[in-house]
């Protein structure tokens, strides 16, 4: 019985050691890039547009977030898509109110302020050239 106990203790120590080594190894591989590449603090209490994997698009006021990029949005409006062609957005929206967005299903995040629909800029460039 006792020997079993010590054996398990030894195992535990061993495991801890390995655990630590693995962790050290991990940080070495990842380098200093542990922090997010986007600072969401600057978007707090401003309107942002969020696109989801699968194609849904919403606009809402950013109230909170975490390091996994889960978001808390308020006064959310979803932009509805054409039922025939899901690539095409319609002018219709629906209100969702307060929403928690799951980080892993995010596709893009962009600020609404300063965004605008423009004419095809690439055709113009070709014509000029």
């Amino acid at each position: 019985m006792e020997s079993k106990e010590t054996a398990r203790d030894g195992n535990q120590n061993n495991r801890d050691h390995k655990d630590q080594r693995r962790r050290n190894n991990g940080t070495k591989q990842e380098g200093p890039k542990r922090e997010a590449i986007l600072d969401l603090n600057k978007y707090k209490d401003t309107q942002i547009k969020v696109e989801f994997i699968g194609g849904r698009q919403i606009v809402g006021v950013l109230k909170g977030f975490d390091q996994l990029m889960n978001l808390v949005l308020e006064s959310v409006e979803e932009t509805l898509r054409d039922p025939e062609d899901p690539n095409v957005l319609t002018k219709d929206t629906r209100s969702l109110g307060r929403v928690v967005v799951r980080g892993p299903s995010l596709l893009t995040i962009s600020p609404l302020d300063g965004s605008e629909v423009i004419d095809n800029p690439f055709v113009a460039a070709e014509v000029q050239a």
Partner: protein, 140 residues
């Protein structure tokens, strides 16, 4: 030449990103991470049917949904140049420390050196997964 290393050296340059849904984004690469998540600035977003064009000051893109990236032609040369500089730096460091690289060096340096040695990187990965396995065996 590692893809992520090339991408890293394309920072602040104009790139084109096409997402899996067919959307394309033209903009300056501001930052990227090891998952290929990107932040672009001064972006023009084109819808999948190439009908709607949107100007966006900044955008964050999930790396797992990128189909491909187009980088400027010079990026490769620039990356090679950087690679050479880093190699020289590493050799200097090695000599100073009597053939033991990376000891006590800052995080930044360590990362750069890792990037230069693709083979070692893989070896380490193998090791770390071994740790995983043995760890799992200990549990059962």
């Amino acid at each position: 030449m590692l893809p992520l290393y090339l991408l890293n050296s394309a920072k602040s340059q104009p790139i084109l990103v096409e997402l899996k849904n067919g959307e394309t984004l033209n903009g300056l690469l501001t930052n990227c991470d090891s998952w290929m998540n990107l932040t672009l600035s001064e972006v023009i977003q084109t819808s999948p049917n190439a009908e709607v064009f949107t100007k966006i000051p900044e955008i964050y893109i999930r790396g797992s949904h990128i189909k491909y990236l187009r980088l400027p032609e010079q990026t490769m040369d620039y990356a090679k140049e950087q690679n050479m500089i880093n190699m020289e730096q590493r050799n200097k460091n090695q000599n100073r420390r009597g053939g033991r690289p990376n000891n006590n060096s800052g995080n930044f340096n360590r990362r750069r050196n890792d990037n230069n040695r693709g083979g070692n990187y893989n070896n380490r990965r193998g090791n770390s997964s071994n740790y995983h396995q043995s760890h799992g065996a200990g549990d059962s």
